[in-house]
């Protein structure tokens, strides 16, 4: 089961919501097959981390190139982002 709820808003855009109840171990390191842009929709203290880099708070648009390992780190409340594939 995916650790988020997803709503498709167009062919290349989804709204993804990570619940506050998600377990940290569900947020695994992974990579995607296509480039992605992640746009935060609400202020949050959830963090994002690229492999071999330190985590940072999700505040601005994040560009994730295909094949690059990354992960999300749980914060307080839920995390709501728009993903452009």
């Amino acid at each position: 089961m995916k650790p988020y709820f997803e709503e498709r808003i167009s062919k290349h855009e989804v709204i993804r919501t990570f619940s506050q109840s998600v377990e940290e171990e569900e947020l695994q390191w992974h990579w995607d097959e296509e480039d992605r842009l992640v746009v935060p929709l609400e202020e949050t203290d959830w963090q994002f981390q690229f492999d071999n880099e330190l985590p940072f708070t999700i505040k601005e648009v994040i560009n994730i190139p295909a094949g690059v390992i990354h992960r999300v780190i749980k914060g307080t409340g839920e995390l709501k982002v728009k993903i452009l594939k």
Binding site: Q28, N52, E53, L54
Partner: protein
């Protein structure tokens, strides 16, 4: 992990400083186990530990003294591997390569492959305190002979505690 002297005197890496400032160490690093950043953090920690410049938690100190996480080696077939970096997979649930204490003709460290975990489809129950305690007692994890990283027993007993977060386990108890 704590620096004995002020660590501003040392040219510590950004990653090392981040871990110090956030109360993290090599047992609960934010870096992915097996990544270059984790290897660098481990080497840096080990260097300061060897120089008596840092105080580590029991687990981190044990790792710094007994493991060589990320160090290059070759297996018995001459294939390049990384030491003490447990991964999911193999014939059992997990596998790791550990220094055999021998070197090949090219002066490479020769690693032994160690596999552990149930291979019959049982799920990991280390988040169940009763099951974890029963496993700990049954396997005699407390005994000194169980603390040999060349044995599957060591990894079954201690990998969740040392690498549980990085292996994606829901608990740091043994299974």
């Amino acid at each position: 992990m704590k620096f004995i002297k002020t660590f501003e005197q040392f040219e510590v890496s950004e990653g090392f400083r981040y871990h110090m400032e956030n109360g993290l160490d090599i047992t609960n690093s934010v870096y992915r186990i097996g990544s270059d950043a984790y290897k660098q953090l481990f080497e840096e920690t080990k260097k300061y530990w060897d120089e008596d410049n840092i105080i580590l938690s029991d687990k981190a100190a044990w790792m710094a003294a007994n493991l060589e996480v990320g160090k290059a080696a070759v297996d018995s077939d001459g294939k390049k591997v990384e030491l003490d970096t447990p991964k999911r997979g193999g014939d059992k649930k997990f596998y790791v390569y550990h220094n055999s204490g021998k070197k090949d003709d090219d002066d490479n460290i020769v690693a032994v492959r160690i596999e552990w975990g149930d291979a019959t489809g049982l799920s990991i129950k280390n988040d169940d305190p009763k099951a974890a305690a029963s496993f700990w007692a049954r396997q005699q994890c407390d005994l000194k002979k169980s603390m040999d990283p060349l044995t599957p027993k060591f990894w079954a007993c201690y990998a969740p505690s040392l690498f549980g977060k990085q292996l994606g386990l829901s608990s740091t108890q043994p299974w």
